[in-house]
Amino acid sequence: MSWETVIGLEVHVQINSKTKAFCGCSTTFGADPNTQTCPVCLGMPGQLPVLNTEAARKSALTGLAINGQINLESKFDRKNYFYPDLPKGYQITQFPVPIVEFGHLDIPVPDGIKRIGITRIHMEEDAGKSMHEGLDGVSHIDLNRSGVPLMEIVSEPDMRCADEAVAYLKQLHQLVRFLNVSGADMEKGQFRCDANVSVRRFGEPLGTRAELKNLNSFRFIKQAIEYEVARQIELIEDGGEVVQETRLYDSVKGESRSMRSKEEAHDYRYFPEPDLPPLRISQQELDAIRAGMPELPGALRARFETEFGLSSYDADVLTQTRELAVWYESLVAAHPADPKRCANWMANELLGRLKESGLNISSSPVSALRLAGLLDRIADNTISGKIAKDVLDAMMASGDHADAIIESKGLKQVSDSGAIDDMIVKVMADNPQQLEQFRAGKDKLMGFFVGQVMKASKGQANPAMVNQRLNKLLKG
């Protein structure tokens, strides 16, 4: 009997505004506990929330980017529950009329593109942080995060395996970073995912779902979903029944456990937030938000392929973040003769070195202009590609110009046929046996001689010239 997996995702994205959703407290990450709080986000009596313009604008922008319907009038509601990291005893959120509905995201799947529906995006406020570890009988509460604006992005149950769920999340993660609506740093909890997972026999109605909480890396999300699918199938095949519950995935043990608390705990008793009138966005305001939409990853990728002739792989690598794409375009602007060479050197050489040094493109010691300077020296045959890699290493270490390094280390390519001929003659004299074999018809030894000459020149001989001169001289 074969089973179908059904997955829907709820993603909490922290909006990267300077201040909280409803008060003028800073949202800076990592501040001393409780130093970024005020009577509003502490839930003190008599305080009134006032919505942050940026939270509304960034939510609407995200809605436009997923081709959603923006509700020009949306409402706020209270979701009631008791927990010490929620000082008001309720969370301000949007329940029946969220700011965005009916969007979608196209994700890459093995046989092409799949469209995943996005039910809604609503604005809400984050809770504080509770700490329990190493404490005896007490918990510690930091409310700096209390009131930080979030978007909750809720998908349709359109995904059919863990890989699709991860593809959707990666696409969404890339999108919110491109839009600059969130830092989306998963380690800082700025992009948090809950997964609703159920299984059914093909053609049957939806099965009962379990909600997996706190999935905070792409790898764990895949593991947690796969574990949950296997657990549910085994349960049903053994004659059991899946119960609707919340489960917490333990990435260390590689298994999940039920967080089942009494049913009542999920009775949130939503009601309209009396402290906030409806949020109205005019058509003009919405048009202005739309006009500020940056080029989105898909469009950028397609443009890189057509305008610069990049492979889809390179285009993909160079559009992972907006910073990478901008950097690549400034590199091409400085070395316009060969956009593909730019892509190769940036994607393969520079990014590899940055990764090894624990850096990223924003902290690269080699600027786009400097890398272009190096590529210019390859283009005009001053150095070979091989030597250029050594020069790039030196540039990474010292931050110097390519020209300064080529000059000071004497790395200029030797294209002087007299000098190359001298090296060839010496290599021939040093390797009489190979020379004899070559002249007897063993053509494969050509590679050996090229290698020897390049070695003799410390890699500085112009390879094309070496080939050409060898062809002449070896034949005797």
């Binding site: 201040t19 001393d32 130093t35 009577p39 942050n52 404490l135 007490v138 510690h140 009775d267 009138p277």
Partner: protein, 92 residues
């Protein structure tokens, strides 16, 4: 209308004695009866009221206006330690 007063009290974190529950039960039920009457009104074509004032929401510019007032704000907290609020253990 049958209302579980103890459940409602639990959701609101209010401790009630049985006597109090017995007194509050009928009162809550009379409120729900009233809501029931309202439910019978034909609201076809009436736009839902989101807020009693017909006002749009004023928005706030995204500029930090609050500094660190932790000492003052924590002065009414029963228990703090190193700037953190200390509460009874809450992990499930």
């Amino acid at each position: 209308m049958d209302i579980d007063v103890h459940k409602v009290a639990m959701l609101s974190r209010i401790r009630l004695t049985n006597d109090e529950a017995a007194e509050l039960g009928p009162q809550l039920e009379s409120i729900l009866d009233y809501v029931d009457q309202l439910q019978q009104v034909d609201t076809e074509g009436v736009v839902e009221t989101a807020h009693p004032h017909d006002a749009a929401m004023p928005l706030r510019v995204d500029v930090v206006t609050n500094g660190n007032r932790r000492d003052a704000l924590q002065s009414s907290a029963p228990n703090t330690q190193s700037g953190l609020y200390v509460v009874p253990k809450v992990i499930e």
